[in-house]
């Protein structure tokens, strides 16, 4: 199973699309590793610089409809090769969400008010997310402040994470 804990990056915008996560001009690459340096390269936000702000990040916390647009699985791959295996948001685009679990990664939906609460408590601070996969619990902390958050994923998604992805699961089950 992949690592789902570590330093968090807050991206305070909804509808971040897969063209912003990995621009189409890099889709001519055949290896996942080639995506690495270009993660979120086209995301234009006042307080975000992909060249410096992704350093050491393991978790992204963001707003609704993350991963909309193109179906490119290069988006999860660009995250994966940067050791980011967990994205937390109020909602995801269907294909992106499925691609994450298909790769044994996690796109976890958390109610909007709780995500907003996380933003107001932790955004801008050095924040870490600890994931207890078996207990389905996140512990989010910065300095002395800490909150626990239960999450749920479907039994099928859980099987994909444990199996390491959909190819492994499908091959052993069908």
């Amino acid at each position: 199973m992949k690592n789902f804990s570590g330093k968090a990056l807050f991206l305070d915008r909804s509808d971040i699309n897969t063209d912003e996560i990995i621009p189409a001009k890099y889709l001519t690459e055949i290896t996942k590793k080639a995506m690495g340096p270009h993660l979120l390269e086209d995301l234009k936000m006042d307080d975000f610089d992909p060249a410096t702000d992704l350093e050491g990040i393991s978790v992204i916390i963001t707003k609704e409809n993350f991963g909309c647009g193109s179906s490119r699985e290069h988006a999860p791959w660009a995250l994966e090769v940067n050791d980011i295996n967990l994205v937390i948001a109020p909602s995801f685009a269907r294909i992106f969400r499925q691609n994450m679990f298909n790769c044994g990664m996690m796109a976890v939906e958390i109610a909007e008010e709780k995500v907003n609460d996380m933003f107001s408590k932790f955004a801008g601070k050095e924040t870490t997310v600890e994931t207890d996969f078996d207990a389905k619990k996140f512990t989010i902390s910065a300095g002395s402040e800490s909150i626990e958050l239960d999450f749920s994923i479907s039994g099928f998604d859980e099987s994909l994470v444990k199996a390491g992805g959909w190819v492994e699961y499908a091959d052993s089950n069908y």
């Binding site: 055949i30 409809n65 269907r94 298909n102 039994g155 190819v167």
Partner: protein
């Protein structure tokens, strides 16, 4: 309790429900292109599973960058080409015979009512125009589709969008779908199928229905669906005439995939389009839509007419009707890309190509290139394009470029003046 079209299709294809609300279905077709398939092929080879579930159900095309623009894209084409040959995939469309996937596959009769189709391309929802369940997927889903002929989906919930009234003169299917997306938002149909129904759809051609269903993904939808009817049968007849004794028989069989009257919908939306005006997008999301006349006068650097949304023969006719006897403004350049070789040939026969060339347009071979800023019409930083494509994301057609989505008629009128213009304003 009645069923929606997607529920009926799932009922005939479900092989497992591994957890609550998840269905694994078998697939009637897996479509492939050279951008998202090679990674799946390479992975299957590394896993020592280089095989396909059924070569006759796999269709492949080189369309995103064609002819290859550099060594990397040449390699992608090569991986796909050699794989198609090795696996005995007969329906492979190489350079010269290739077209934009969501235009050429329907043209070949590969999308049928009741089918389940996946492709590693978000605009696969286009094929729902035939009363099929067709969904864009990532490379892993594609890989399993190729290997096993199956895919997992959430059990489909459906939003019905009933389009009433009469299409005003000067508006087109593109204006309708932009208007719909503007209404429900880019997240308005996430995890849902959209059924497009009503008199407006009933009177629409297959080309128009494909334009509408094509952009269902821009509202987040898994698939856009139109019910199969006589228009569907007429379009498919050359491919199905040996399967049925008559068109009426075909229609009767396909009616099995029309939703029941008492089907249950997550949402029921009615839009009267009688007073619709030509639409255009104004920001970096496809739901930022307004009447084109409100944007009139805005300077444009490039016009692009083509893509899986609007590169079909009706679209070219619509644009040519505006450009006939007129010239492209000196201040901009116009690129026209017929979506398939057959569309290109038809445009030649009808004299459309001559109209475009006399006006000063550049005609390219069929390709997706410009739509996603990969080739054949990439924008420079700060440039503005009125485009008949489907996405206006920041940088979509080139880093720092701005895209305004519009119908072919509006794009053509803009080509004449150099600023955003509707055909009526000329």
């Amino acid at each position: 309790m009645g069923k929606t079209t997607a529920q009926k299709i799932f009922d005939t294809h479900r092989i497992d429900s591994p957890s609550d609300g998840i269905d694994v279905i078998n697939l009637d077709a897996v479509f492939c292109h050279e951008i998202t398939t090679p990674t799946a092929i390479v992975d299957l080879m590394e896993r020592k599973k280089d095989r396909v579930f059924d070569p006759s159900k796999i269709k492949a095309v080189i369309d995103h960058v064609t002819p290859a623009k550099d060594s990397l894209t040449a390699e992608q084409g090569k991986v796909l080409r050699e794989w198609a040959d090795r696996q005995g995939i007969e329906d492979f469309f190489d350079v010269g015979r290739n077209g934009v996937c969501h235009a050429i596959f329907p043209e070949k009769g590969f999308a049928r009512p009741g089918y389940t189709i996946i492709m590693g391309d978000s605009h696969t929802c286009t094929h729902g125009a035939f009363g099929a369940f067709a969904a864009g997927v990532g490379t892993t889903d594609l890989e399993v589709g190729i290997l096993k002929g199956i895919c997992a989906f959430h059990s489909p919930e459906t939003i019905r969008i009933n389009l009433t009234g009469k299409m005003p003169k000067g508006t087109f299917p593109k204006d309708i779908i932009l208007h719909v997306i503007g209404n429900i938002g880019v997240n308005g149909a996430t995890n849902h199928v959209i059924e497009f129904t009503g008199p407006v759809i009933d009177e629409m051609s297959m080309e128009g229905r494909m334009t509408v269903c094509n952009m269902a993904i821009e509202a987040g939808a898994t698939c856009g669906i139109c019910y199969p009817d006589m228009t569907t049968v007429e379009y498919l007849w050359p491919f199905i005439k040996n399967e049925f004794n008559s068109k009426e028989d075909a229609l009767a069989a396909y009616k099995a995939f029309v939703a029941d009257e008492d089907a249950v919908y997550a949402k029921d939306i009615e839009l009267d389009i009688s007073s619709l005006k030509p639409q255009v997008t104004y920001g970096y999301k496809p739901d930022l839509v307004k009447s084109a006349e409100k944007m009139s006068g805005e300077k444009v650097n490039q016009v692009y007419i083509g893509s899986c949304t609007n590169g079909r023969i009706e679209d070219l006719r619509e644009a040519a009707a505006v450009l006939k006897g007129r010239k492209v403004a000196d201040s901009l350049r116009v690129i026209v890309s017929p979506a398939t070789p057959d569309i290109y040939k038809q445009a030649l026969r009808e004299g459309l190509v001559e109209i475009f060339m006399e006006a000063g347009c550049c005609l390219t071979n069929p390709t997706c290139g410009a739509c996603l800023g990969m080739s054949n019409g990439v924008l420079a930083d700060g440039e503005i394009c009125v485009s008949t494509t489907n996405r206006n994301f920041n940088g979509r057609m080139g880093k720092g470029g701005m895209v305004h989505l519009a119908s072919p008629a509006t794009a053509a009128a803009t080509a004449v003046t150099g600023t955003i213009t509707t055909a009526d304003q000329l």
